[in-house]
Amino acid sequence: MSACLDIRDLSAVLPNGQRVLRSVSLCVQPGEVRALVGESGAGKTMIGKAVLGVLPSSVRIVEGDMMLEGEDLGRLQPKARRTLIGARTALIPQDPLTALNPSRRIGSQMTDRLVRILGWSGERADTRIRQLLDEVQIRDPDRVLKSYPHELSGGMRQRVLIAAAFAAEPRLIVADEPTTALDVTVQKQILRLIVQLQREHGTAILFVTHDLGVVAKISQKVSVLYAGKVVEEAETAALFASPQHPYTRALMAATPRYTDPFASLKPVDEAVLAGLATEIAAADQAWRRPHG
């Protein structure tokens, strides 16, 4: 069986030639949750956007392949690529407010996609959406479907977006820090919902986060990203049991324990960062040689 998502040696550069993704390889099996961790600016969102085909225009992919369910995205015509991505993937975004169109009702936004992209009938789409709203435990679908986004709370909006993401039965969902913008009390519920729907629907998820606590709870595999480079990749259990890369160890040490959050909150060790800088410089130099 081919992988759900297979990224090989993906490099992307800014107009000034600086690499934002450094030969990233990453493979997500069908039905698997793959966590992508790293600090702010590591390029986690970039990877998600590359997969979904919405990289900012200033970022250019210069090397590598992305295979979505065995289809090479780079080889497809733009239109065919859009259709494939639209049908097989979905995004659960970080900020549920801006991810919904403020001037359209929730109902029309959700059904629109099924009707216009997948060609479903309006009735079928409506039934499907209500079923999904039920799955994300929205008890008053009539009111929610008639609402505008700003009339709902952040938690409700994120439930709506989760429902929308699963509605078309995508094979892969990119979840980009889906709980960061939410209240702490709501975060857990939302995480639980995502995991629950993921199991029931058998959807693969590329889960972007900077929270190792979340990684431990939901993922089977982890990729640790630093400065656009995957520094370590492992089964989640194995990573926590014996982290191999010094950066991973430092990241774990920097994660606050719930018992005494302040005592253990310390920055990543200087020596580790210096080591990483050398590692990345060496990798860049090795990469530049054949690429002029």
Partner: protein, 282 residues
């Protein structure tokens, strides 16, 4: 229930006052032959410079007095409203359609389309608008349609700039990216996702522009470049009133008040409509 509903504002008095005046003026203009107490063109030297109704020497039936040719001022204002409203609607809608379309394209597609359109707007706006209008009418010849064309040709840039900026802001929002991931085409996203979010601004600008068109038309009439018939226009009445300010101040003051009320109402009405149209502010 984890739900927070924004409180809804009632209909603002602003909307009622401005809308009320505009409706009154519009209805009076449409039904001018029925509601005007006198023939606006009928001259009667026996009745020249009659004062408004509350002053001594006023004649019944001539509520706001008469001008130096004995024509009824109220009737002339009512008939003048016809031209004012025709120009306001036609010119503002034309400017709006052209400006908003270009602004939407420029803001959404960016790139060279944006560079070309923005450059044209910059050059366009370098001309002083009133001079530009006078020049245009001088070239096109006087008449209702040249006034409308002149105003639209000058003022589309106002729409273009504002709508471009709003569209750029909206295009950066995540919901646009989501629509692209879902597989919607670019033009579909522009029309179905972005456009509804800039409509409140378009509506406000449109109403404001109608007010501006009324002023520009008055200015052109004032300098005798507007409609070259005998039909009364607000600007024309003001121009005549200015000549007899010492003998009959009302011929100047009433059209000025009418003009100012109308222009203010248009801009207030637009602002109030914007807040009502906007789902977030509503």
């Amino acid at each position: 229930m984890d739900e927070a509903r924004a409180p809804r504002r009632g209909v603002s008095p602003r909307l009622w006052l401005a809308g009320g005046w505009l409706l009154l003026a519009l209805l009076a203009a449409i039904f001018a032959p029925l509601v005007a107490p006198q023939d606006p063109l009928a001259q009667d030297l026996m009745l020249e410079r009659l004062p408004p109704f509350w002053m001594s020497g006023a004649e019944p039936g001539y509520w706001l007095g008469t001008d130096s040719l004995g024509r009824d001022l109220l009737s002339r204002l009512i008939f003048g409203g016809r031209i004012a409203f025709v120009v306001a609607f036609a010119a503002a809608i034309a400017a709006c359609v052209v400006g908003s379309t270009l602004g939407l394209i420029s803001g959404y597609f960016g790139g060279w389309a944006d560079r070309i359109i923005s450059r044209i707007v910059d050059v366009w706006m370098a001309f002083p608008p009133v001079l530009f209008a006078i020049l245009l009418v001088a070239v096109l010849g006087t008449g209702l349609s040249s006034v409308i064309i002149a105003i639209a040709v000058i003022d589309w840039t106002r729409f273009c700039r504002v709508i471009r900026a709003e569209t750029m802001g909206q295009s950066r929002m995540d919901y646009v990216e989501n629509a692209r991931i879902a597989g919607y085409g670019r033009i579909g996203i522009m029309l179905r996702e972005v456009l509804p979010n800039v409509v409140p601004s378009i509506v406000a600008l449109l109403s404001l522009e109608m007010g501006i068109a009324v002023i520009v038309e008055a200015i052109l009439s004032f300098v005798n470049l507007s409609i070259s018939t005998d039909d009364p226009t607000w600007g024309g009445i003001i121009a005549e009133g200015r000549l007899s300010i010492h003998q009959a101040w009302w011929v100047l003051v009433f059209p000025l008040i009418t003009l100012i009320l109308t222009v203010l109402s248009f801009s207030q009405f637009g602002e109030a409509l914007k807040t009502r149209f906007d789902p977030v502010l509503r």
